[in-house]
């Protein structure tokens, strides 16, 4: 794999930083040299991108759905305290228990204590970015509790002692031969071994995963999940998935623990009619994903007898406090912005140094974690500001606007010659030095996008410290090329 320090640093997981991760440009350099990774990523992003465009085109009212999604989220965030309290009341009335965690450590402690109280030593998990963000698996492991990831891709990542590289297809950096090898070498240490004659056909690999995991599902007593949405008025949680491992984790165990970011709440049941149209089409480019589960507290005779909801802040209220940055919390994690991003395609998911790769990672991570480290300070510069991410975003997050805003913050905080400023300049330089892929995307976008970033890269504070001239309306790269030597 590309990032040399990945393996050990991932295990250090707590509170999300891959310790020792090189800053964006260095990690990206490594990724560019990794041809397997690049070929896989390119294939993946282009395939999903084209399919998505078709799925979206089926709905003549896409722009209205996008606007409604944006407004629902903005309205909810504006009254987040009220809706969370309403949610808490509804979940409690339906037999669930609600916990509040201000940060990763608190969340990990709550979950670990809940698992310990059941007396179990293992849990099954359905893919959840929130639990990856807080390093829950490592926290559980430290207490002697084994956490089994059950998404096929997450299983590949976990067995390979690796890190996810894409929100939707986290193992996209692995090809079938590598997956066969990982299964053959490691499954036996975790449970049912891979069949002796395992081939590298995707259907056979999926079958091996089915058998390996079924053993775990059928005996599991504790399940851990995230949620895509929480409905305040009813206390209903929603998990959207494809494989059925989510249904297994949500249905078969006796205890279910869901760790969910506070921004995932929506006011009403009806609001789901918007997001259940926009999320699958933006994400997997399907009219609807194979399985969606909704549940409200506990139900007699059906599913877990105990349900715990852990509401996670972990930096989200800092994002909420930033008037430009708060729109980031509208994100429904569809990953459409990754698939259109020319920088992501070249650099790969790992270069972003957190569980959130691509354009959304470039704005979310520095806000959740702050920009004290070189990696986090360099992330807002890992973009050509082409605006393609904004175009596809189903909740209309103006990612370029937030990137520019964060660049200003980094500049304010560092100052000329500061190490953060240097990291930032290197990231910009990396982007600018990969012209081929970037230029095309950028031009395409500047033709389609009227609302280009209102302030061009390195606006205000940043340009002042750099003594750069007023920025023209040409694509950033062209402008830079013309001006960098002068």
């Amino acid at each position: 794999m590309s990032a040399p320090t990945a393996r050990t640093s991932y295990k250090n997981g707590a509170n999300s930083t891959y310790l020792g991760m090189p800053s964006f440009p260095r990690a990206a350099h490594a990724a560019v040299r990794d041809t397997t990774l690049r070929a896989n990523l390119k294939h993946a992003t282009h395939t999903i991108r084209d399919k998505r465009a078709k799925a979206v085109a089926e709905l003549g009212d896409w722009a209205d759905l996008r606007e409604a999604g944006k407004q629902i989220k903005d309205h909810t965030l504006r009254h987040l305290d009220r809706y969370l309290l309403q949610l808490e009341e509804a979940v409690t009335a339906a037999g669930g228990t609600v916990h509040w965690a201000a940060d990763a450590d608190e969340a990990n402690r709550i979950v670990t204590d809940l698992v310990k109280a059941t007396g179990e030593r293992e849990v099954v998990k359905v893919k959840s970015m929130a639990t990856q963000e807080i390093g829950l698996n490592e926290a559980l492991e430290a207490e002697g509790i084994a956490a089994y990831e059950t998404d096929l891709a997450e299983l590949i990542v976990q067995l390979g002692e690796d890190r996810p590289s894409h929100i939707l297809v986290p193992a996209i950096h692995r090809n079938r031969g590598e997956i066969r090898e990982i299964f053959t070498l490691t499954m036996s240490a975790w449970g049912r071994p891979a069949p002796d004659d395992l081939t590298d056909r995707p259907a056979d690999l999926a079958e091996a995963a089915r058998l390996h995991l079924r053993e775990k599902f059928l005996r599991a007593k504790v399940g851990i999940s995230g949620a895509n949405f929480m409905v305040a008025e009813t206390g209903t949680l929603v998990v959207v998935e494809s494989e059925g491992n989510g249904r297994m984790c949500l249905t078969l165990p006796e205890t279910l623990i869901s760790v969910v970011g506070i921004e995932k709440v929506v006011p009403t049941w009806r609001d789901l009619e918007v997001f259940l149209q926009t999320l699958p089409r933006s994400s997997t480019a399907e009219r609807m994903n194979p399985y969606t589960s909704t549940w409200t507290g506990t139900t007699d005779g059906d599913g877990p007898r105990a349900f715990h909801l852990v509401l996670l802040d972990n930096g989200r209220t800092d994002v909420l406090a930033d008037e430009v940055g708060r729109q980031t919390l509208r994100c429904i994690r569809c990953s459409a912005c990754l698939n259109v991003c020319p920088v992501y395609e070249r650099a790969g998911g790992h270069a972003y140094g957190s569980v959130y790769p691509g354009p959304i990672g470039a704005i979310l991570t520095p806000q959740l974690r702050g920009t004290a480290s070189e990696l986090d300070a360099s992330l807002p510069f890992a973009s050509s500001l082409c605006g393609a991410c904004y175009e596809v975003c189903p909740v209309a997050i103006d990612i370029p606007e937030v990137l520019v805003h964060l660049r200003e913050k980094v500049a304010d905080q560092g100052g000329k010659g500061h190490r953060l400023e240097k990291a930032a300049m290197k990231a910009s330089g990396w982007v600018l030095n990969h012209p081929a892929a970037l230029a095309t995307a950028e031009r395409a976008a500047s033709l389609t996008r009227k609302a280009h970033p209102r302030r061009l890269p390195g606006a205000a504070a940043w340009t002042n410290t750099r003594d750069l001239p007023e920025l023209p309306a040409a694509p950033f790269r062209d402008w830079w090329k013309r001006n960098r030597t002068s």
Partner: protein
């Protein structure tokens, strides 16, 4: 000592102190993308179910028993799970051993059963989705999860709606719901679509025309 709850709520309120008002959302999107004609809606459901690789059949009350017998026989199922109040005549001609759900059945027991036959709460044509709500002709969620073969009967037109906005008010969120759009699938390995990972690998939907 303040609790996590107090701290999170206080931080939210502080963060929002100067935030501009955000009005109730406007819903200018369509309530449906399809014509009102029930036959057209049913055709669309059929098409979209099939597009996502569900096997679709059409039948009537008179013929459903024979159809289900044939589907179970073709599958070679030795046993079939029966929810508490499946209409008895549906399986009146079927050969496999009927397994009635009881609380004592463990997931491992259910794993020994080949097929399951259920009704549903609703079907959504535009997305090719069937929704189960644990009603008496469906049973608890695990019945349609562990067996590898699920036959789901949709009554048309009464259980078919065109769109998501039409579906929401007809569903009861206090019940556990399972929305199914085609058999389970993954594209995790080089984006090659593989049908069937953990849920039933074969989904057959029977569109039952009401007289």
């Amino acid at each position: 000592m303040s609790t996590g709850r107090d701290r999170v709520l206080a931080r939210i309120r502080r963060a929002l102190a100067d935030a501009p008002e955000a009005p109730e959302p406007t819903r200018s999107y369509a309530t449906t993308h399809t014509s009102d004609d029930p036959a057209a809606v049913l055709d669309l459901l059929h098409e979209n179910l099939a597009d996502y690789r569900a096997v679709v059949h059409r039948t009537t009350e008179d013929d459903i028993a024979l159809l289900l017998m044939r589907l179970l026989a073709e599958r070679g199922s030795q046993s079939v799970l029966v929810p508490p109040q499946l209409p008895p005549h549906w399986l009146s001609a079927a050969d496999p051993t009927r397994i009635h759900d009881r609380a004592v059945l463990t997931p491992a027991d259910l794993d020994q059963v080949a097929s399951v036959v259920t009704g549903c709460a609703l079907a959504i044509a535009e997305t090719g989705t069937i929704v189960l709500d644990g009603g008496p002709d469906q049973g608890r969620r695990r019945l349609t999860l562990v067996p590898d073969h699920h036959i789901c009967v949709v009554r048309a037109p009464s259980q078919v709606v065109a769109s998501l906005p039409q579906a929401m008010p007809r569903l009861d969120p206090t019940r556990p719901l399972t929305w199914i759009s085609g058999p389970s699938a993954t594209s995790d390995i080089e984006l090659d679509r593989v049908e069937g990972v953990h849920g039933p690998r074969t989904l057959e939907v029977v569109l039952l025309t009401e007289s």
